[in-house]
């Protein structure tokens, strides 16, 4: 049994002298769904990027542990799945080529069974040999879920997971999130009430736009 914990200890992020968020803490110790809510500009996206290690916080500490051992920042990326509207996939490749390259660059095994299952669930199986540039934005969004889940990460971070999706797409996403939540930590950053309804606890970020310090 894998035990993964994420511990965010009062992190603060500033860009120049603009404060994005201040003293935010979050503690995820067992599988489940956490939500991050807040108005536009409250730093939800910045916060989840900090969790992935793409942006380093100005102060405070984020620790990821796997089976009691802290994960090095060099290998953190292989334990995280990430979906976000500003994520762009390589559109000169087909969906399948994209996924194969991701597995190779990550240095993990290409899990055919899991990917076929996910392709079927997200209704992309017949289109897997099509170039991504021919995809609609909803299909791209569904492909991003494949990107996030293909390597069975222990921490899945979803930034506005249902943007660009139709109703059946949303239902699929919720179903998969429910399945994944049994074994991994899921963090959803969103303003949508139906997203936040899935979460067992929600962290509210406040807007510091006019704040000076």
């Amino acid at each position: 049994m894998i035990s993964y914990t994420l511990n965010v200890d009062s992190i603060t992020k500033t860009f120049g002298r603009r404060l994005i968020f201040k003293n935010v803490s979050l503690n995820c110790e067992q599988p489940g769904i956490w939500g991050i809510a807040g108005p536009n500009g409250s730093g939800k996206s910045t916060f989840v990027k900090c969790l992935c290690g793409i942006i380093s916080p100005s102060s405070g500490k984020i620790t990821h542990t796997l089976n009691g051992r802290e994960i090095e920042s060099e290998e953190l990326h292989n334990h995280i799945g990430f979906v976000s509207p500003y994520l762009v996939l390589y559109d000169e490749f087909t969906a399948e080529e994209n996924l194969k390259f991701f597995a190779e660059i990550r240095g993990v095994k290409y899990n055919q069974a899991k990917i076929d299952y996910l392709l079927n669930e997200f209704l992309l199986f017949d289109r897997k040999k099509d170039f991504v540039k021919a995809y609609s934005s909803g299909m791209k969004q569904r492909l991003k879920f494949l990107f996030a889940l293909m390597h069975s990460p222990a921490l899945v971070i979803l930034d506005e997971p249902i943007s660009n999706l139709d109703n059946s797409g949303k239902e699929k996403v919720y179903k998969i999130i429910g399945e994944e939540a049994k074994k991994s930590i899921i963090i959803i950053a969103s303003n949508d009430d139906s997203d936040l309804a899935l979460c067992s606890s929600v962290l509210e970020l406040t807007n510091y736009k006019s704040e000076q310090f």
């Binding site: 860009f15 120049g16 002298r17 100005s58 000076q212």
Partner: protein
């Protein structure tokens, strides 16, 4: 305040002495400079040209040190210090290049002849120029500071190659070069004591001037930044 008065006195004395003191074959009085074969009257440039090129190098070194500091601590004040050092370095670099070229016109017959030192200072000029081009291309403060710091460190590690490879490729004309036969290392033995005194006074004076300018520069940069953020 004491420092500023002292600085004024030093610079004033150096300017007057450096320009007005006569050069004679056999110096008898304290205010007379000895004749250096191959340099003659042109030797007086040493009081102004050498300090500027020295400060060009010092400013570059300081800019690199504060760049490393910035990357370690991510404190924008370090970036302001590095940037101010680079700005002053650019000014002194231009001064050194121009004074050097004017001197070269009279000593070597042409403004520019790709002597190793000329090439090196030209490379420094290019590095400073590239650094400012990079800075003006980036909007966001932190990104600008990080990229400029990285670039100045990378540029700094290439400098030893200039020092090492240049004399092998080009013949040195500059006084003090290894294969310079007619005027030799000027600083070592051809200058008499009063010339050395003024030379070192000038070096000290210019260094204090630089330090003062640097402090004023980075402080004003920090204040300007704070004022901009107030609204």
């Amino acid at each position: 305040m004491i420092w500023k008065i002292l600085l004024f006195l030093i610079i004033a004395f150096v300017s007057v002495a450096g320009i007005a003191f006569p050069i004679v074959e056999k110096p008898e009085f304290w205010y007379q400079f000895p004749l250096i074969p191959g340099l003659e009257e042109n030797a007086k440039i040493i009081f102004f040209h050498v300090p500027t090129s020295w400060l060009t190098v010092i400013a570059f070194l300081m800019s690199t040190i504060y760049s490393i500091k910035y990357l370690r601590r991510k404190d924008l004040i370090d970036d302001a210090k590095a940037h101010t050092a680079a700005q002053l370095g650019m000014i002194f670099c231009i001064l050194a290049t121009v004074t050097g070229a004017v001197w070269a016109k009279f000593a070597w017959g042409s403004f520019w002849s790709w002597d190793p030192r000329q090439t090196s200072i030209f490379a420094l000029l290019l590095i400073y120029g590239a650094l400012f081009a990079l800075r003006s291309a980036v909007e966001q403060e932190e990104k600008r500071a990080t990229l400029a710091s990285v670039y100045s460190i990378i540029a700094f590690v290439t400098v030893p190659f200039f020092i090492f490879i240049m004399p092998r490729i080009m013949k040195g004309l500059h006084p003090g070069s290894a294969d310079d036969t007619h005027s030799g290392p000027v600083v070592d033995f051809k200058m008499n004591s009063n010339m050395l005194l003024i030379f070192y006074l000038s070096l000290i004076g210019f260094t204090i001037l630089y330090y003062w300018m640097w402090q004023v520069g980075y402080k004003s940069m920090i204040y300007k930044d704070k004022l901009n953020k107030q609204f």
